[in-house]
């Protein structure tokens, strides 16, 4: 059981307001991702939930009980840190057993739980090694092991994959997702990487400058961003945001169109000159200099025989356009 409710949570450091009033309900068993640019307060928010920082005002309740003033150890949450934070002089076995030892469990039960966790995480052959003798991915798994043996109400992950190389990041991402399906425990995951957010989350919380910009499932955020910030943050390559006369034609201050929603068409209304041309095999990313609009990113199929300097006509897909008013809010 791990329902977490934040109401009017604020945090300021020496007069500088970092978290500006967050209201959020995280139901039991959900995988929530906090995503946002660096400095948006997502790690601070996680640390507030963990109890590693005190809130300036507002309440945090876990499992229906007010936990705002509880020390971290009493909140029955487990956290996985960016630097793994393994205890360097203890073996993997002792690292994983540490929270159980602190809880005063009998030795046989500690042993049994450690073995079980090691089996789930494929760590059994490494139980007697020191953290310094493990690779980055294995250390990450030990950190997760130390979290799962406690059987917490919720897991907190603070950018856990940012120290891993790209290939390992993809596989660890899948392992964490599978772990969530097995354990069905609430997980809160902080990242600045929108690909991690899109692939793992049940629900994404987009944060910017200490405020929630939008909360929704990955596809909701992709299909209907509530404002310009979310529109620009979710999706890769980034959405094209067009202002001026072209946007005014659609009755909007800013017109948003995703690169994958632009077709190359003989009779397309936008005439342009191809600039940079990235052939990835599966896709081709084009930067097109369109007359009267400026640079537009376009994503087309992999077998497009275009080169630098070619002339193209572009046609945005009319039903996939996003319109925003002068305040940056989406227009319905």
């Amino acid at each position: 059981m791990g329902e977490i409710v934040l109401s009017e949570v604020r945090k300021s450091f020496g007069g500088v307001s970092i978290i500006q009033g967050i209201d959020l309900v995280i139901p039991d068993g959900e995988f929530v991702v906090f995503v946002g640019p660096s400095g948006c307060g997502k790690s601070t928010l996680l640390r507030l939930i963990a109890g590693l920082e005190d809130t300036s005002s507002g309440t945090i309740s876990i499992d229906g009980k007010d936990a705002t003033k509880l020390p971290p150890a009493k909140r029955s949450l487990a956290m996985v840190f960016q630097s793994y934070a393994l205890y360097p002089h203890m073996s993997v076995r002792k690292n994983i057993a540490f929270p159980l030892r602190m809880a005063g469990l009998p030795a046989e039960e500690q042993q049994r739980k450690v073995e079980a966790a090691a089996k789930v995480l494929n760590l059994t052959p490494y139980l007697d090694r020191k953290p310094s003798q493990l690779s980055g991915g294995q250390r990450q798994r030990v950190a997760i092991g130390r979290a799962i043996v406690r059987e917490p109400a919720a897991f907190l992950f603070d950018e856990p994959l940012s120290n891993l190389d790209a290939a390992l990041r993809v596989s660890m991402r899948q392992e964490i997702s599978e772990l969530h399906h097995t354990l069905k425990t609430t997980m809160i995951y902080v990242t600045h990487d929108q690909v991690e957010a899109m692939t793992m989350a049940d629900r994404i919380v987009v944060l910017n400058a200490g405020r929630i910009e939008q909360v929704g499932s990955p596809l909701e955020l992709y299909r209907s961003p509530a404002n310009l910030f979310v529109a620009g943050f979710i999706g890769s390559p980034k959405m094209n945001l067009i202002e001026g006369a072209e946007a005014a034609k659609y009755g909007a201050h800013t017109l948003g169109v995703r690169p994958e929603h632009i077709d190359i068409a003989e009779d397309g209304p936008w005439k342009g000159l191809v600039g940079l041309c990235e052939h990835l095999g599966s896709d081709t990313f084009l930067k097109v200099e369109v007359e009267g609009i400026g640079q537009i990113n376009v994503r087309v199929g992999g077998d497009v025989p275009l080169r630098h300097g070619a002339r193209v006509n572009l046609a945005p897909q009319a039903d996939k356009l996003h319109r925003f008013d002068a305040g940056g809010k989406a227009m319905v």
Binding site: A73, F81, F98
Partner: protein, 290 residues
């Protein structure tokens, strides 16, 4: 240092220093060994002759030898225990955020800048003096009889002075190590339910082991040769109560003018220092391996 030419050039440029350092070490050592086998008294010039191990047998049978050996070990061990334990405690305290942190840190390091003879004089005349000293005044204020530190507990008094001098060094090294302790590890332990004492025992102490090893090794080298503090305060007395090996060698060669006997004592001290060093490296040297 990739090509053969650069390697040779590197060795050539390094060699003058290596040769100089080697001579610096080997010439005094060689001369001391040579003198230790001579009957060589400055009061009787021109009578030097080879006497074999006679100087050594005199040195070992000197009634001051065993007390000096014991005093040396007590002094070194006592100061090490006080400085390492006190240094860890001070490092933990200094690591807490507090008002006036910068000034407090400088004050803690200050005793290290005072010359040994000066600090020993300050302790002797201003603090420990049974008539004019601050401790005596405090004792009288409490209605107690002042303690004559250098008469009643000479070795303990010297240990206190030397420990006061070396505490800043230990604190400095341990405090630096303290600052490199990973905050996230501490937070992880906090979330794992470890209280402050458990965190100190399971994280801080193991983390400080390597720095403590450095402190013990370096201090041992310097503590084996403590001299000025003894000369200025007790002059090795009363009797042999505060005579160390270093001080015994000084007394024999400088006060009795017996260079041969003093040299033999010096060689014994060198051998003792090496034995201590070997034991230390065996016991705690493995902490230095990464």
């Amino acid at each position: 240092m990739a090509t053969q030419a650069s390697r040779i050039a590197g060795r050539l440029m390094l060699s003058p220093v290596v040769v100089l350092l080697f001579l610096w070490m080997i010439v005094p050592l060689g001369m001391t060994i040579y003198f230790s086998f001579l009957r060589f008294n400055l009061l009787m010039p021109g009578t030097e002759e080879f006497t074999g191990f006679e100087n050594y047998s005199y040195f070992f049978t000197d009634p001051a030898f065993w007390p000096a050996l014991v005093n040396t070990l007590v002094l070194v061990l006592g100061v090490l225990v006080i400085t390492v334990v006190g240094g860890v405690a001070l490092a933990v305290l200094l690591d807490q955020p507090m008002w006036g942190q910068g000034i407090v840190r400088i004050l803690v390091i200050a005793p290290f800048f005072v010359m040994p003879s000066v600090s020993a004089l300050v302790w002797k005349n201003m603090l420990m003096n049974p008539v004019n000293g601050l401790f005596a005044a405090l004792a009288r204020g409490l209605g107690l009889e002042p303690i004559d530190f250098f008469a009643d507990a000479p070795l303990a008094s010297i240990i206190a002075i030397v420990a006061w001098q070396w505490l800043p060094f230990a604190t400095l090294i341990l405090f630096t190590a303290m600052q490199s302790l990973d905050r996230e590890q501490m937070e992880a332990a906090e979330m794992d339910g470890a209280g402050p004492i458990w965190r100190f025992v399971h994280l801080t102490i193991p983390h400080l082991m390597r720095a403590a090893t450095v402190v013990v090794l370096i201090q041992t080298i310097f503590l084996l040769s403590v001299f000025a503090e003894i000369l200025v305060t007790t002059n090795g007395g009363p009797g042999t109560a505060s005579t160390t090996l270093t001080f015994l060698v000084y007394m024999q060669s400088m006060l009795q003018f017996d260079v041969g006997l003093g040299s033999a004592g010096g060689i014994v001290a060198v051998i003792l220092a090496n034995i201590v060093a070997i034991f230390l490296m065996r016991m705690i040297g493995k902490n230095l391996e990464a």
